[in-house]
Symmetry: C2
Subunit: 264 residues, 2 copies
Amino acid sequence: MRVPDRTRPDRPRRGPHSNRHHADILLTELRIRPRCTRCPAWRGCVFGFASAAGGRFGGRVTPSPTPPAADRLARQIRFIVEVDKLKEIFRQTVLINSRRAENDAEHSWHLCLIVITLAEHANRPPLDVLRVLKMLILHDLVEIDAGDTFAYDTKAMADQHAREAVAADRIFGLLPPDQAREFRALWDEFEARLTPEAKFAAAVDRFQPMLLNCRTEGAAWQRHGVARDRVLARNAHVAEGSTALWAYAQKMIEDTVAAGHLAV
Amino acid sequence: MRVPDRTRPDRPRRGPHSNRHHADILLTELRIRPRCTRCPAWRGCVFGFASAAGGRFGGRVTPSPTPPAADRLARQIRFIVEVDKLKEIFRQTVLINSRRAENDAEHSWHLCLIVITLAEHANRPPLDVLRVLKMLILHDLVEIDAGDTFAYDTKAMADQHAREAVAADRIFGLLPPDQAREFRALWDEFEARLTPEAKFAAAVDRFQPMLLNCRTEGAAWQRHGVARDRVLARNAHVAEGSTALWAYAQKMIEDTVAAGHLAV
């Protein structure tokens, strides 16, 4: 299999858009694409060769024929059943009325609703709203394995992307290969935050917990001793997706400070 | 204000697609559209006249100018805050792992995920997937006021649509008028189940609880004494959206019967 050369001298040496980063994405794609149907240790079966661990056949693996429709649907259902676990991943934000912790599935639904309500406020409308929704439906699935990382927990954030990338391999890998690639690409796009759609999705993903915090007397911020400047710094990229939403958020934060629910 | 004639002789005299039903929708639109900014009892202000209760001005109300952007965003945020309550509306279905009751927000997210995974199995692809997602993001908001109606509770189902239509007036009415109309039209489309998109959305809305029931030893069915024939009858319209999903569901139901988790 020929590996396309995506090396670009203008990319940074490290970090999210380095050549190394893109090489990792490519490796993930290769790991998913030529899945060997007979080799149980297929995750090691990079570049279409048999797994070194299994070693049941030594040469190049012939790409398996398209699986029958029933097998395809069965794999899709396995994925749908697996992600039921997202409803059990609890966040630091609490609900406005009962004040119990919100979970990732509820959060993801709320983001989708916000997108269809506020898409007109994106910096670069018209957005491809369908792609924004797909990103947000999928964006937290990795937390089924990697857990929720609180937005102000700098220690946990250090290896967050690495932990989540492993989770993405496993969870999207449950799907038929073409869908695994499509969903993984959507998650990568969301994480990279380069397209107008990803910028708006990320803006909404930051705006919603701020809104819930401001409507619950700063519950999560108070509990973790987060002050105004950290809130402003952590969420400033909302402006990349929507300056209107960021202006609203800044006003909301100042009102919460004025009400004594967020420390200065 | 000229009322367009939507009377059609081919419509049934009563029920969801009667002329009466469409007249009700039209009245709702009129009630939302010319909202009077000075009259507090604006819900009575049909056809642009002042409310009989308020009576502060007697003539035809001049349509208010488009509200400034800040007011528009404030109304949208009020809607987004209000619908946080969907996370507190619990259903009869239980989650696969913890076996606690699922809520409407989690359910709505799961349906969206199922749509982007299984859209290829719709009877009439390619669907307008964005419209299917919008319908499913919004479809249960009415339950904030009307409560969840269990799919096998025939008594509660008798006045379900009427209760939910009142809820739709209030909840979508929080939005700016153009969005209130758009979201209400999506909810009406979902309820009417006439378009390929609505048929597929409804199919997924029935498929997901069946899937969770089958994966939890028929928990909700057992608790309410629901037997196989009622499950088959209540969910048969899945086939209108996707014969592939209905075939899968029938097999799943038979397996659940064979395992002794669903009465014959």
